[in-house]
Symmetry: C2
Subunit: 218 residues, 2 copies
Amino acid sequence: MQIAIFVYDHMTALDAVGPYEVLSRLPGADTVIVAEQRGPVRCDTRKLALVADAAIDEVSAPDVLVVPGWSGSRQASLLRPGPVHEWIRGVDQHTTWTTSACTGSLILAAAGLLAGRRATTHWLATDMLAELGAVPSDARVVFDGKYVTAAGVSAGVDMALRLAASMAGDQTARAIQLGIEYDPQPPFDAGSPTKAPAEIVQSMRALRDFIIFGADAA
Amino acid sequence: MQIAIFVYDHMTALDAVGPYEVLSRLPGADTVIVAEQRGPVRCDTRKLALVADAAIDEVSAPDVLVVPGWSGSRQASLLRPGPVHEWIRGVDQHTTWTTSACTGSLILAAAGLLAGRRATTHWLATDMLAELGAVPSDARVVFDGKYVTAAGVSAGVDMALRLAASMAGDQTARAIQLGIEYDPQPPFDAGSPTKAPAEIVQSMRALRDFIIFGADAA
């Protein structure tokens, strides 16, 4: 069972590494980190790089595709047509599950896979998901057929555990959850725009384009 | 403010990437991924590599040190004296915070930093922490002076948010939490040995040495 985790310049590391840490521990999982080209891919902070062990032309029929989100760059965003969209549409012909974390769902939508489908994304990007033809949800994880999308960044862990349960059963998912000791105890109840202090939500909304697209947002 | 995230062969990716995703977003953070040598470091599943952008001899006085845990290898474990222990003790002279996630606390303890201090680790390794001279706690995050330790894997996110609050204030920590949309909704309540089904806990305990030390455990 091949699990392809797509990585790219300016991606958010935890969007990929959260699902990876769960899905790679499924029985029979053969995980591959894949990018347009093999080699290091630098994340949004520019302070961490992950290594792609395969190029997209080497991965044609994964069982599971995971597409993470990004921040801080319009140039690096994958909302425009191109070889990555072609690859995503091609592998989607073969997947059992096509998934995303955070703004990764915008990429799936831009590639044409979420038209009319319920999906979620980072809370700052909900309207963009609608503009790309999906039916946005504010749920943390959304299943619509084989398309599974997660909200911002850390939601990829919850998505992957739900997917693990669908793929391998509840007991296996619980064992993985115990293995990664996922018994979350956040120090604040501020992880969603309905819970965080209004002034924080407002200031992030005001910076939305900069957060997602960076200094080249204009 | 330099935040040094130490990486090494057979480390668990989320142990490092969880704290990274929080701490690198602190105002003024200058995050560096550091290993014995520069270059790719392959994680425990062997399916993901992170890139070290600096070698330990290039990072001498970070403000924050983060040491992740590992699994599946005795050869790769850092419980033995050597240059990494010397480096950890050296940088600890300069840190404001010396931290770990998962079995990373065993490395801090083996380097001599946790003698008589309260600390936590992955639930499977609690007795090993005691053998290394620390006073084990089953708390998810433990502060003892400047030493901050987290329980298994995903606990590094909770640790980093508490640390962010200590370093930059509660509002900044809440903003980071909202940015990574950390509003956890695990599908099961199985993330600690007190909550998971007993048969899963027992089977993982039976495999403890293999999980931590791999096939060379004997």
